[in-house]
């Protein structure tokens, strides 16, 4: 009987542990840029309310369970007939409503803020980087600088970066927790994400959306450099890095693990996977596993098909869908 009473205080420790996270070195609590800091502000605001709820409910729970426990000496106690209390029920409907309102306003506010260049950086001209995820690597194209990197991305410190996200195949999620929240990358779609690093340094980025065998190793590094160092790096790349050819690029998209690569041009010259009408670059035969082989179907818009052989029907469909996407947040949605 008495054992139960130790449970409540024991469990009450858990949220305290949860909150002690605030001053530890967990990456979400150590923002290195305004976007991550904005989100952390929201998280901390919510934690205050959560702590309040936990304290009240755990306290009430512990008190009630302890006070009204069955004991040998209250054997004849007959609990009262009690069907409810309108007053109390209104109170505990109203309080959650107030808490939800208190959480909703900053949440909506932050959701809208995150779609724009972070506050304080509006006057800085953003740099655009196209991110293309493939199995199992990250490809970064710099349309303004005309270069391309794989599995690492260099950015100038203190400059807003507009990441245009897409995928050459499976759906993935682009996340640099030290700099800000994540967003999905999808083939034939484009999503956007603004990030700023306000300290020079190296930050780990990763894919969070499961995409097969090589998923766990899909990490990349973000290196934020001073503007001068960044410009010098671009110049060096232009001068020394090899050129990417279309053939080489298709090899790159095959399901492999690669280290860091650098090229002095970029693949946007021949394909932008974010474009609704771009060709499909898939290699089903390379994904064979130990399971029983199933039939692989013809893909009407695969890059391997000879020009002009594309299925007319599917082309029509693509056009139609494109028409619908006017004014959408991103293509084709």
């Amino acid at each position: 009987m008495f054992k139960k009473n130790h449970l409540a205080p024991l469990l009450a420790l858990l949220p305290v542990l949860l909150l002690s996270g605030c001053d530890s070195n967990m990456v979400v609590f150590e923002p290195k840029g305004p976007v991550a800091r904005e989100i952390l502000g929201l998280i901390n605001w919510s934690l205050v309310f959560m702590l309040l709820i936990v304290v009240v409910v755990f306290g009430l729970f512990g008190y009630i369970v302890w006070k009204y426990r069955a004991r040998p000496d209250n054997k004849d106690y007959e609990p009262p007939e009690e069907h409810g209390s309108t007053k109390l029920e209104i109170i505990w409907t109203a309080i959650p409503i107030l808490i939800v309102i208190a959480l909703t306003i900053p949440t909506v506010n932050t959701i809208y803020k995150l779609e724009k260049v972070p506050e304080g950086y509006e006057n800085k001209k953003p740099i655009t980087i196209n991110v293309t995820s493939a199995d199992w690597k990250w490809i970064f194209s710099y349309p303004e600088q005309g270069i391309e990197t794989v599995n690492y991305v260099n950015i100038p410190v203190g400059t807003p970066v507009k990441f245009k996200l897409t995928s050459a195949g499976t759906m993935q999620s682009f996340w640099v927790p030290a700099l800000g929240g994540q967003k999905y990358t999808m083939n034939k779609m484009e999503t956007q994400l603004y990030l700023v690093a306000d300290h020079p340094g190296e930050y780990l980025g990763k894919n969070t959306n499961f995409n097969g065998k090589g998923y766990a190793d899909m990490e990349f590094t973000v290196e934020s450099k001073s503007q001068q160092a960044f410009d010098k790096w671009v110049k060096d790349v232009k001068k020394t890095a090899p050129k990417l050819t279309e053939k080489k690029y298709i090899d790159l998209l095959k399901p492999t693990h690669l280290g860091r690569l650098t090229f002095s041009n970029n693949h946007l010259a021949w394909v932008n996977h974010g474009d609704m009408n771009s060709k499909t670059y898939t290699f089903p035969e390379l994904y064979r596993n130990h399971d029983y082989p199933g039939q692989i179907f013809k893909q009407p818009d695969n890059q391997k098909n000879k020009a002009g052989k594309t299925d007319d029907k599917s082309m029509d469909m693509n056009m139609k869908m494109d028409g619908h996407s006017n004014g959408g947040e991103h293509n084709g949605h």
Partner: protein
């Protein structure tokens, strides 16, 4: 058809080879045992062809226990693999298969059968009915669930497991990235089980609306029946979405259509939307009946009526409506735009309101009560703080902008385990300890039960609490390994040890079932907990016709007031009338086998063979429509004899609560 026999069985992995041998031995063992005990006929007439809701419920629960075991092994394998950095137990492919089957098995073949099983046993008793509205359909529901579960479970030894996650997101789950047949098992097996579940939903809606005892208005219905009712409505509303989504998936994978593919104008996000349009209500399908069970248990062991019954009913209806309006919160990060994300953040957070109301109502049910710490009640008590942690982290995740940092991390994994384990598994255990005597006529051992409880609850918290912190430190879900530099090692190890403790707890539960079946006292009261609802007004185990005379209901907690006023408990023999009961039928069992065979052939993409087998389904349906068997009548003399048997046993039996 060009069958590749060498690829039929999965080879080359010692773990899988071991399982293949174990499965073979178990099957031989079962056949030998049943033959040795000469029980084939008994098995057929008493179980395989039964339409009795109580037996069907017990079979559901048995499937739940077995699948808990299977899903649990998957979970332990995952925990063993990630206990240390760069673990070598499983390779990436094997790990992907294991977490996929863990998710599917635990949600669809563990949680659902457990809850539907308990619903089956208890709901008709609670509302004073003799069976469900469509007994034979009920048997078909069970056998289809069983068929789907078996088809899904053989995948890892024959053909290959699905490996695209329980969410099976396209394009990964499509042929472009998963050209093997593994994911066909997902599309077909869940389809078969899902049809069964949909029929259960319809069956229970009709049962609860049409078959309540005289005087039991909807607002006098026990809370568990209420939650079962609302759950059935959510099933009927959301499972058709799953049926359609899976059918489209099957077309894409087996017939080469382009609904969700990258090529040919397919839309992979459409799958994600359809999946969660079903998937989120599914969470409430499993959680609501659990809420009902906690309500019954808390009320019984506090010896008080449920506090705020009306607001409880309002809350579950509110939760049911909101459950259909929140699905986008599973993919705030898809970039649907700030307007959409804001709206779904708000609807999601609104769920906290009715849930909070329920929480306080439970607390105030206990207030001024006399709380007895039986094992069933311990589970209900542990639910309160554990589920609260699941709930508040749920609100944190509901805040769209903050979710960008939590999404797909172990923080999310910890959250939904903190919701589903206290919300479903604790409830199932509470319900089983509570209703076991009603089902089997003996109690589960309380001492073993308490060991089970403490090990399980401590193990659970140890397993999943560290995951919150791991997630906030950037650990992503579904990764088969991580580096030592990541710093995840220590907490991952704590989590793995916790999983071991949790597993030992479950082992005690299994042992408890065995021990109690063998040694527990059979001479117990039909109302051992001094309970409040109608299921306790009849024998334990319940006689096949449930009630000799259907009791009349005048208030909530009908049985409690019958006992208090000593009214309506006894009836004289001349009040008895013949009872009309449904006949057994082998058709549901046979039909499920045909479904299974047809499904198996379809999984292997042997389309013509699958079609031929599917004709068998139509033949079964035709046979059923020409079946004029109208059931049979139980003569009054037989009823008298049975009633005399249990009503006079009760003398001198001590109450099990004090």
């Amino acid at each position: 058809m060009g069958i590749k026999w060498d690829r039929f069985f999965i080879t080359g992995d010692p773990l899988i080879l071991g399982s293949q041998i174990a499965i073979l031995l178990t099957m031989i063992g079962i056949v030998v045992l049943v033959s040795y005990l000469k029980k084939w006929k008994w098995l057929w007439t008493e179980w395989l062809t039964t339409v009795d809701h109580k037996r069907i419920g017990i079979m559901y629960i048995l499937v739940g226990v077995l699948m808990f075991f299977r899903g649990g092994i998957d979970g332990l394998l995952m925990k063993a693999q990630t206990a240390t950095p760069d673990g070598q137990l499983l390779d990436a492919q094997h790990y992907n298969e294991v977490f996929t089957t863990h998710g599917v098995v635990m949600i669809l073949f563990m949680a659902m059968p457990f809850l539907i099983g308990i619903m089956n046993v208890i709901v008709p008793l609670q509302i004073g009915a003799r069976d469900v509205a469509f007994p034979q359909l009920n048997a078909l529901s069970f056998w289809l669930t069983f068929s789907g579960a078996m088809l899904f479970n053989i995948s890892f030894v024959i053909g290959g497991s699905p490996d695209a996650g329980w969410t099976a997101y396209f394009p990964l789950a499509g042929k472009e990235f998963s050209p093997g047949i593994g994911n066909n098992f997902y599309a077909v097996a869940i389809q078969i089980a899902g049809i069964g579940t949909l029929m259960t939903g319809i069956n229970f809606i009709v049962t609860i609306l049409k078959m309540r005892a005289k005087g039991m208005t909807l607002m006098k219905m026990p809370m568990f029946s209420w939650t079962s009712f609302v759950t059935s409505i959510i099933i009927a509303a959301s499972f058709p979405i799953l049926t359609v989504a899976l059918a489209l998936m099957t077309f894409d994978r087996i017939f080469g259509t382009h609904f969700f593919t990258l090529s040919g104008g397919g839309m992979d996000m459409m799958w994600v939307n359809l999946f969660w349009l079903w998937g989120h209500p599914e969470v409430y399908i499993v959680v609501l009946p659990a809420f009902g069970m906690f309500s019954e248990v808390i009320s019984t062991f506090s010896r008080k009526t449920l506090f705020g019954y009306k607001s409880m009913v309002g809350s579950i209806v509110g939760i049911a409506i909101l459950s259909m309006l929140v699905w986008v919160h599973h993919f705030f990060t898809m970039g649907a735009g700030p307007g959409v994300n804001s709206i779904f953040s708000i609807t999601t957070m609104m769920i906290a309101i009715p849930t909070g109301v329920k929480m306080f109502n439970w607390l105030f049910t206990m207030r001024k009560g006399r709380i007895q710490f039986t094992t069933a009640m311990l589970w209900a008590l542990a639910f309160v703080p554990c589920f609260l942690i699941g709930g508040i982290t749920g609100v944190m995740l509901a805040m769209g902008a903050a979710d960008y940092q939590y999404h797909n991390t172990l923080f999310l994994v910890a959250h939904f385990h903190y919701v589903l384990i206290p919300g479903v598994v604790f409830a199932v255990f509470a319900g089983l300890y509570y209703w076991w005597p009603k089902m089997f006529g003996h109690m589960l051992n309380e001492k073993l039960g308490k060991l089970h409880f403490w090990l399980f609850v401590i193990g659970f918290n140890m397993t999943f609490m560290p995951m919150f912190f791991l997630g906030l430190n950037g650990a992503v879900r579904r990764a088969y390994t991580y580096s030592a530099e990541s710093g995840f090692g220590p907490l991952m190890l704590v989590s793995a040890i916790g999983a071991g403790i949790l597993a030992i707890g479950f082992a005690f539960f299994c042992y408890n079932i065995y021990w109690s079946a063998r040694y527990a006292d059979r001479n117990i009261s039909s109302d051992p907990w001094d309970a409040r609802t109608l299921e306790w007004a009849t024998a334990s185990p319940v006689q096949f016709y449930n009630f000799a005379k259907i009791p009349e209901v005048t208030s909530l907690d009908a049985f409690w007031y019958m006992k208090k006023k000593n009214k309506g408990l006894k009836f004289s023999n001349d009040e008895l009338e013949e009872i009309h009961m449904p006949s057994n039928s082998g058709l549901p069992f046979i039909m499920s086998i045909v479904f299974g065979i047809s499904g198996f052939l379809l999984v292997f993409e042997w389309k013509i063979a699958a079609l031929v087998a599917a004709l068998g389904i139509l033949i079964c349906l035709a046979i059923r429509s020409f079946d004029y068997n109208d059931g049979y009548h139980v003569p009054v003399d037989e009823i008298k004899e049975i009633e005399y048997g249990w009503q006079n046993k009760e003398k001198g039996v001590e109450k099990h609560v004090n």
